[in-house]
């Protein structure tokens, strides 16, 4: 089944276009040396409803990015399977229904901002929808920079182009692998607020990998905490906060309480991973 692409981009559209995601019993190991292998992920199970935004936090090396790569079809798992609206990642990628933004923006320096946003059309062999590209450039606040080259942009602007590019084909699932990780704090906070608006406008299912608990709570309907060795889900927290989650919301007692609970779980997950207690 091929999911339909919708022409144009209505910035106010709210009907979810996202797909339900099911991850069942995923395990993954990597061969490291002479028959030895490292179990990177073990027994990962979760589901996400269509249009949900969920975040994953965890200590370095716990397998967050590996999990994202398996969901994106960039890596295969040893056991278990992933379904996106009932289809495998490979079937979803063949229909160009995934959007991915990495910490490395991966913009092409020889293309303008508009052509970088439109790149997925060309990669997919489709005619670019110029109206949609222009609308996305407006949505990420780069309407005046569509003719600029990436090297003429700041780090935050480049990352906005990367996010617009990830969404240009109206993906049913948006995968964000620390897209704000390389940005300074001020740019990161501004972009977080903008990203929420963008996601609300598009209504796609989204997964955010981040090291920042604040960021995870700001974005997620749920936050998963992972532990390492092997990488596994350690705890899950619902985030019952209304949207938009702006700076005032982030200063609220409930937001802070949720952040503290997740941070505590993260400390416990880190201790469970390394055997070192943060209190010691």
């Amino acid at each position: 089944m091929r999911l339909p692409h919708t022409a144009g981009c209505r910035e106010t559209e709210t009907a979810p276009i996202g797909a339900a995601l099911a991850v069942q019993d995923i395990s993954k190991s990597f061969r490291i040396d002479r028959g030895q292998s490292l179990l990177a992920l073990h027994g990962i199970n979760f589901t996400a409803t269509a249009g949900e935004f969920f975040a994953v936090v965890g200590p370095s090396g716990c397998g967050k990015s590996t999990l994202l790569r398996i969901i994106a079809g960039l890596e295969s798992s040893d056991t278990g399977h992933v379904t996106i609206a009932g289809r495998t990642p490979a079937e979803t990628t063949v229909d160009h229904q995934l959007g991915v933004a990495f910490q490395d923006h991966a913009l092409l320096p020889w293309l303008s901002v508009a052509d970088n946003i439109a790149l997925p059309y060309r990669l997919a062999g489709l005619d670019p929808d110029r109206a949609r590209v222009a609308a996305l450039a407006r949505l990420v606040g780069l309407a005046d920079f569509v003719a600029a080259r990436p090297r003429q942009l700041s780090g935050g602007m480049r990352q906005r182009v990367s996010i617009a590019r990830a969404m240009v084909l109206k993906p049913v699932l948006l995968l964000l692998d620390e897209p704000f990780g390389a940005l300074d704090l001020v740019t990161r906070r501004t972009l977080n607020l903008e990203m929420q608006k963008i996601w609300s406008a598009l209504g796609t299912t989204a997964m955010l990998i981040t090291h920042s608990v604040d960021e995870a709570v700001q974005f997620g309907n749920r936050v998963f905490v992972m532990a390492a060795r092997p990488g596994r889900f350690f705890a899950e927290f619902p985030v019952p906060l209304p949207r938009p989650r702006d700076r005032a919301m982030m200063a609220s007692a409930l937001f802070i309480e949720i952040v503290q609970r997740i941070a505590q779980a993260l400390d416990e997950a880190t201790a469970a991973s390394t055997g070192i207690s943060s209190a010691s």
């Binding site: 790569r69 994106a72 990628t93 991915v100 923006h105 991966a106 320096p109 990669l123």
Partner: protein, 252 residues
């Protein structure tokens, strides 16, 4: 009036060259470096009659046209083999070994055999091709081999066909490396052709160099050698300008 950094750099280069040529002239006139090191003004006498100028223009045309043909063939072969290695990874190791083996051929030892096998007209071109081929192949294939991983992941997550991602991502990304190979290959082609002419070609700067050496025509020998070097440097700097443009467009 203040100077811009670029103007200052040009001025320093001009002063440096002027000083270098003045010292050369002085060393030649005083004989400080021996009788075989002529002054620049003495080398210029190699062009002072129409007959001498005719010799050099014919030789320059012969060497230049052979070098252009050698460069074109070397680049074409390098491009073809690099593209085959990139789209057929199973052949990559074999093509790499072949390219390295060709580069390792000692031209000096191989030249006389080539004269017998390929003939005196073709030998300079063959040696020019061998000299130009490897830098172009090596640079192009390494540019194609290492696209940014995130770009590759992006293509993977979009389910892009290998050929489309090759054309849209790998090939443009490899352009600066490719032109870098061209700028190293062009002087190589000229030097390979001149070397090939030493082995008995009917005309060319290499023939003038050998003839002048055998007949102890020191200014003519220097004039031919300097023309060869000037041709190689001209090709290098012209392609360096293209490389700068390419880097500005295709690289970060």
């Amino acid at each position: 009036m203040t100077q811009t950094p670029a103007q200052g750099s040009w001025l320093r280069s001009l002063v440096g060259f002027a000083l270098f040529f003045a010292l050369w002239e002085l060393a030649g006139r005083t004989g400080a470096l021996g009788a075989s090191f002529p002054a620049l003004s003495e080398i210029a006498t190699a062009f002072d009659t129409p007959t001498k100028r005719g010799l050099f223009s014919r030789s320059l045309a012969a060497t230049g046209s052979s070098a252009a043909i050698a460069f074109a063939i070397g680049a074409a072969v390098a491009i073809a083999l690099a593209l085959i290695a990139a789209v057929q990874p199973r052949l990559e190791a074999g093509i790499d070994s072949l390219a390295s083996s060709v580069y390792a051929i000692p031209a000096i030892a191989f030249g006389p055999i080539l004269i017998l096998v390929a003939g005196p007209e073709t030998t300079p071109i063959v040696l020019g091709v061998l000299s130009a081929f490897f830098p172009i192949y090596g640079a192009f294939v390494s540019g194609l081999r290492f696209p940014p991983p995130a770009c590759w992941d992006l293509a993977g997550a979009l389910g892009v066909t290998p050929m489309r991602s090759f054309v849209l991502l790998k090939l443009p990304h490899a352009m600066p490396a490719f032109v870098d190979g061209l700028r190293l290959g062009a002087p190589g082609a000229i030097l390979g052709v001149v070397l090939g002419e030493w082995f008995g070609a009917p005309r060319g700067l290499g023939v003038v160099i050998v003839g002048s050496m055998q007949n102890v025509k020191i200014p003519q020998l220097w004039a031919a050698a300097l023309l060869t070097v000037a041709g190689a440097l001209l090709a290098y700097f012209a392609l360096s300008a293209l490389h700068r443009l390419c880097v500005r467009r295709f690289a970060w």
